[in-house]
Structure formats: C-alpha cells, structure tokens
C-alpha cells in the first residue's frame, strides 16, 4: 500500500548492523559489571560506549523505517522508541546481573505489540513496521540502561535509586540525589530520543550515504556521552567521571572531525563567502 521513498543501496546490510549493534551494546553493558566485581567505578564509561553502539544501530533502523514515509516526522519515531524502552529498562533493573537480557526480551515483546498495533490495528501496512518497532524498543531500553550504568556505575535498581550527599565532608545516603530520585532519567530519555533520530533526519536527501550517517550517529552518541559524564559527577567518584569524560571527548572529537571530512567529500561544493552560483533558468 505504501510507496517506498528511498532505497538503501550498497553499504553494510541492515541485518549486519543490527546484530553487531545488539552484541556490542550488550557486551559493553556487561563490562560495566566489572565495577561490581572489582569494587570500583572506573568501568562506568563502558555504559556510554554501549549507548554509542546502540545509537548507531538505531539510526539505521530509523532510516529503514522512515524511508517508507510514515506520515509524521522522523523525531516521533525516536519518541515511541524511548517511551516503550524506558518502561522495559526500569523493570529489567530489578533482575541484577540478568538485567540487560531481561530488558532486551521485554522490550522486544512491548515493541512487537506496538508494531502490531501500528501496522494492523492502525492499518499502516508498512512491511518493516513491526520489526522496526521491536528494534527501536530494544534500542531505547539498551541506551537508557547504558546511561544508567554510566551515571551510577551499575545497572541495578538499588544503585539507580540511592545516591550520596556530601555535607560538611560527610557522605550521607539519599534517595533524592540519585539517578531516579533526581529524574536524571528524564534527561537521559531526551538525550537518547534526539540522538537516535538526528543522524537520519540530518542526512536525509537524495545524496544520503550510509557511512556519513553512521559516523554522525557515533558523533551524536559521544556528544551525549560527554554530557552524561558531567551529570555522573555527583553520583560516582570524580575520578571515574573524569575517565568517562575523557573517553567521551576523544571519541567525540574523532567522529566529529571524520564527519566533517565525509560531508566535505559528499557536498556539491565547499565554499567560503561565495555568492549563489548561477543555475540555468533561474
């Protein structure tokens, strides 16, 4: 029933990106568990890397879905991904070490039902709708879990709900100064929801290229990671937060420079203070 607006030509096939993104994201999330095993917080930055991996995958899923023209803006797809992901992610944090797996499975179930609703009940009839919403819910859950792990050092519910307040050098436990109690999850929600839709929204057009969009996805991921590292400062030790910040800035600088290079490669011309070129007929 629907017309496919743009074709995906060449490049890495979607399935490869999906599997690589899922595995990389899960592996990075589990690497943050080294914090619990070794009793430090220095491995928190792996949570940020998990979000980058998931966002790269997510940007390609959005491309896959939105190339059909879903009738409303690209950003709304990011909203539904995180709206369903946040619920699966918070439920999964109850399960300790199994949390990432539970999040993936539960998000897949929620995504499947939402996809069925959109495709069949709302009669959208887009071939990739169900698969895409499943993927997006999983990505939403993984990205939020990555930010949670990065900002608190762990993906377990107890560490998300408890924080410390420093008063006159004393460290007191507090529910208010925590990832959930302070609602930092709201910021993580928006960081992910914009980062997931931006790469495709910014790169769409007839000269869309896959490597440029994926590079931009990595750039958005690292940029969000910088701010997440700053927000982790009151929740984990300062040195661990600085490690995250350092990793994020290096990653962001590299991907941003690379992205500008790729844009230069793809652009029609790269002009500084030049007038509008003459085009025939206008």
């Amino acid at each position: 029933m629907t017309v496919k607006v743009e074709k995906i030509e060449g490049g890495i096939p979607h399935t490869t990106i999906m599997i690589a993104g899922l595995i990389a994201s899960l592996v990075f999330l589990y690497l943050t568990y080294a914090n619990v095993i070794m009793g430090t917080e220095y491995f928190a930055f792996f949570g940020g890397l998990a979000t980058v991996a998931a966002l790269i995958w997510g940007s390609h899923t959005i491309k896959h879905l939105c190339s059909y023209g879903i009738g409303t803006g690209v950003p709304s797809a990011g909203m539904i991904a995180f709206g369903s992901g946040v619920i699966a992610m918070l439920f999964a944090t109850k399960y300790g070490i199994a949390a990432p797996i539970v999040a993936v499975v539960l998000a897949a179930v929620i995504g499947l039902i939402l996809g069925y609703l959109a495709n069949n009940v709302l009669n959208m009839r887009i071939p990739v709708m169900i698969q895409s919403l499943v993927e997006m819910a999983i990505i939403g859950a993984l990205v939020l879990m990555g930010y949670a792990a990065m900002m608190t050092g762990s993906f377990e519910l107890t560490s998300l709900t408890t924080g410390n307040v420093q008063i006159l050098g004393l460290s007191l436990p507090s529910y208010q100064a925590s990832f959930l109690g302070g609602a930092l999850i709201a910021t993580a929600f928006m960081l992910g929801a914009i980062a997931i839709q931006h790469p495709f929204n910014a790169c769409l057009g007839p000269n869309w290229t896959q490597d440029r969009m994926l590079m931009l996805a990595a750039e958005c991921g690292f940029l969000s990671m910088i701010t997440a590292a700053i927000m982790s400062m009151p929740l984990i030790s300062m040195s661990a937060a600085l490690v995250s910040l350092f990793v994020a800035i290096i990653g962001w600088y590299y991907t941003y420079a690379k992205y500008i290079e790729l844009s230069k490669r793809d652009a029609a011309a790269w002009l500084e203070s030049k007038p509008i070129p003459d085009v025939e007929g206008h």
Binding site: M1, T2, V3, V5, E6, C66, S67, Y68, G69, I70, G71, T72, G73, V74, P75, S76, A77, M79, I80, F82, G83, S84, V86, I87, A88, L90, F91, K94, L106, V109, I110, I113, L114, Y116, L117, A118, N120, V121, L122, N123, M124, R125, I126, T158, T161, Y175, Q176, S178, L180, G181, G182, A183, I185, A186, F189, N201, L204, G205
Partner: protein, 278 residues
C-alpha cells in the same frame, strides 16, 4: 517536519480481525493483572492507565495540526507536529495535575485537563492572531463548506491555490478539547502510578514512606511522559500526521486509535505495575 513528502496511503478502512486481536490482548492483560494482583490498588492502577491512555489517543484527534504546509498558509491548522503539540499541551496539564495531586484524583485530573486546555486555548488564539494581524489572512477550512459550530461559510475565504488556512472556530474548539483530554489522560496515569508506588515502594526498598517520595514522583512522572508519547505517536500515525479538527473526515478513524491506545497502555501499564508488585 521531515522532508520526506510522501504520505502513506493508510486508508480509512478498519481491519476487523486486527481490532479483535487487539481487544483480546487487552482483555488478556486485564485478566492477567486481576489474576496476579487481585482487585487491589494494582488493578485499579491498570484501569486508570488504560483510561488515561485512551483519553490521550482520542484527544490527539481533536488537535488541529497542519504540519509543514500550515507554516506557508497552504493548509489549515497549527504549523507543527501533531504528536509533539499534543505532548506540549498534555505535559503542561500533567504539570498542573501533579501539583494538585494531594487534592484527590478527581480534582487533580480536572486540574490537569484545564491545564492542557488552557495551554491550547492560548496557543490557538495566538495562531489566529498571527494569521490575522501578522499576515492578513482570515481563517478558512479546506474540508467543510460551513463551520459546524458557527455556521460561517468557508470556501470564499480560502485563498487561491491553497487548501485553506488559519484556525476556523471549530478547529479552535477542537484544539481546546484535545488539550483537555490530553491533560486529563496524562495526569490520570501519573496519579494512579504515584498512589501505587507510594504504597508499595517503602516495603520493597526498606525505607520510610517519606524517603521514597522523590523516587515515586520521578518514576510516576517519567512513566506518564513515556506513555503519553507512545499514545500520542500512535494516534499521530493513525491520522498520518495532519488533521483539521473534529470536522475532518480523518476524525472518523478514531476507533482504531482508541483500541490501539488501550492495548498499548495496558502493555506498558502492566510492566510499570510489575516493577513494584512482583
């Protein structure tokens, strides 16, 4: 908002099989909740969430949104995305409703509804203000020849080569009604979840009730926003992004969105409830 111009051809037809399947899923979730938690607070919370979700999904259909063409005066409605405009109104309502939470469910829900309606009333008034005094364009609907409320004729006020512009009175009223529904729905979801979490979290986390209030508020607030966005986006998919208001033929598609919102809210709701109740 997106440069992809092609609109999907999602027809107005109702897929009966899918609707039945949706309703069966809904009943299964309600039954499962009753079976797991009995008829206590958790069950009432699920019912509240479903009602709230349906209010949001239904309310979005009233909000007159023209999308990109509206910004050029080519189509009637407000020039922005329908899901996010509804979210703006609904969340402004949620803000007021959350503030009045201790006044009881009825007062707080109505306060939330008024908050959403107020936001839409001011916004819609300013849309017409800009059209009339900034651009010199009177309102005209493209879908009907007479405004169903005021009886004003529309086609002769439609400028050449456009589908209409501005917000005719019926669209204004639709916008306010949409804000009322959205604000009420978002607030209701927040209130039932807040009640449940304030009840269950102290035992689960071994803490005093006063200590967990920030957690309960943040959790309930975040879930209310998340479920609001899910329902608003599903409703936006149903009307393929633009609608003129309750007089638009697309409005008749709302039964599909009501079923979809109910099922989506039930699924999200049961998970949100299980966080504290399992």
């Amino acid at each position: 908002m997106s440069a992809i111009g092609a609109k999907p051809a999602a027809g107005a037809a109702v897929d009966t099989t899918a609707m039945v399947v949706g309703i069966i899923i809904l009943l299964l979730v309600i039954g499962a909740t009753y079976y797991l938690f009995g008829s206590g607070l958790a069950f009432m919370a699920l019912i509240g969430i479903i009602i709230g979700g349906v209010l949001i999904g239904f309310g979005v259909h009233f909000v007159p949104v023209g999308g990109a063409p509206a910004a050029m005066g080519q189509a009637p409605g407000i020039a922005t995305g329908v899901a996010m405009l509804a979210a703006g109104a609904g969340l402004a309502g949620l803000f007021g409703g959350a503030w009045a939470a201790e006044m009881g469910v009825v007062v707080a829900t109505i306060t939330g509804a008024i908050g959403g309606g107020l936001m839409m009333a001011i916004t819609c008034m300013f849309v017409n203000f800009i059209y009339v005094f900034g651009m010199g364009i009177p309102s005209a609907s493209g879908k009907v020849t007479k405004d169903p409320i005021t009886g004003d004729t529309q086609p002769e006020f439609k400028s050449q080569g456009t589908e209409g512009h501005g917000l005719p009175f019926v669209s204004y009223v639709g916008g306010v009604i949409g804000g009322l529904f959205g604000g009420a729905g978002g607030t209701l979801i927040y209130l039932v979840l807040l009640d449940l979490y304030e009840e269950e979290l102290p035992a689960m986390m071994n803490a005093l009730p006063a200590q967990i209030v920030p957690i309960a508020v943040a959790l309930a607030g975040m879930f209310a926003i998340g479920m609001f966005l899910v329902n608003a986006v599903l409703a936006a998919y149903n009307i393929t992004g633009t609608i003129e208001g309750p007089h638009d033929p697309k409005f008749k598609r709302f039964p599909r969105a009501v079923v979809a919102s109910a099922v989506a809210s039930a699924i999200c709701g049961i998970v949100a409830i299980m966080i504290v109740a399992v």
